[in-house]
């Protein structure tokens, strides 16, 4: 359903249409244009955006697909010009390591904290029953100085 909605949105956003010699190329065109980010309008993919630069990139994408370039070749062509920024799924390097492993790291930290917490809860011993002397002392205090207790509490 989400996929369907996205296709509809894409179809509305894009003005020009391209003819593809092969249905597979068209599928790849849609997949890649949904993965490539518009350098000008930073929160849109090139399939979303009407910016001239996005239009140029779609044109190039279509041209390269038709000339038989592989997905990797196309992506590295784009990255060579616009940097890793142009991919919504950037490759793994020292700059993007936190992006890729951050969620895993956070999950591990959370699980660790949760485990610690649960363990410390288990290790709490059952409340100790007061001894007979203590009961005696308590009763004496309650009976002897009721007023004072109220003030204190």
């Amino acid at each position: 359903m989400i996929g369907l909605c996205m296709t509809v949105m894409t179809a509305q956003a894009v003005i020009e249409t391209y003819e593809f010699s092969d249905a597979d190329l068209e599928r790849r065109y849609h997949r890649l244009s949904d993965e490539l980010r518009c350098p000008k309008c930073q929160n849109q993919t090139i399939s979303d955006s009407n910016a001239p630069i996005a239009k140029d990139l779609r044109f190039l994408l279509h041209e390269q697909l038709e000339s038989g370039a592989s997905d990797d070749e196309i992506l590295s062509f784009m990255v060579a010009r616009y940097g890793e920024f142009v991919r919504y799924r950037p490759g793994l390097d020292s700059n993007t390591a936190l992006l890729w492993y951050g969620p895993l790291l956070l999950t591990l930290v959370t699980l660790f904290a949760l485990a610690l917490h649960l363990r410390s809860r288990k290790s709490v011993v059952a409340p100790v029953e007061p001894t007979e002397e203590e009961r005696e002392a308590l009763r004496a205090r309650l009976a002897g100085s009721g007023g004072e207790q109220k003030v204190r509490s």
């Binding site: 350098p39 001239p52 616009y82 940097g83 920024f85």
Partner: protein, 179 residues
Amino acid sequence: MPRLKLFLPLAAFVLLSLLLFRGLSLDPTSLPSALVGKPLPDFELEELHSGKNLSRQDIIGKPMLVNIWATWCYSCRVEHPYLLELAAQGVRIIGLNYKDDGVKAIAWLKDLGDPYALTLADSEGMLGLDMGVYGAPETYVVDANGVVQFRHVGVVDAQVWQSLLAEWFPEFQSKGVAQ
């Protein structure tokens, strides 16, 4: 230890605040250029005025600024007077007239003055694309070997020149350019 634990939320809050505070001073529109440290891409474009075909070999050989501009770009008009000043100091500026109409561009330079040693007419924006241009104005520092050293996105003014660009042009640095 249990006491210290009470400060954990505070510590987390402070850390997050620092992180977000730093985010406030970052400019998300300033992107690193993928071209820095790489040679200027090859091209075959007409010179705006003469219509002569030029390639990469014809423009490199001296440190220069490559300025991406167009008549549809308002900020280009803003930076134009400063480019004229720089050109008057002797800085070599190559214009790249980006996705523009040649007739309008020639009229623009006639009206406002021409700071460019040469202007390449990139009406299709294909050299722009090879350079990773995503808007105008953009200004690239290209050294004598034709290698791109720096890219500035946005208007070039006295402050940008002094702080970012002048270091690549030591012979003009000391003179300084009037504000």
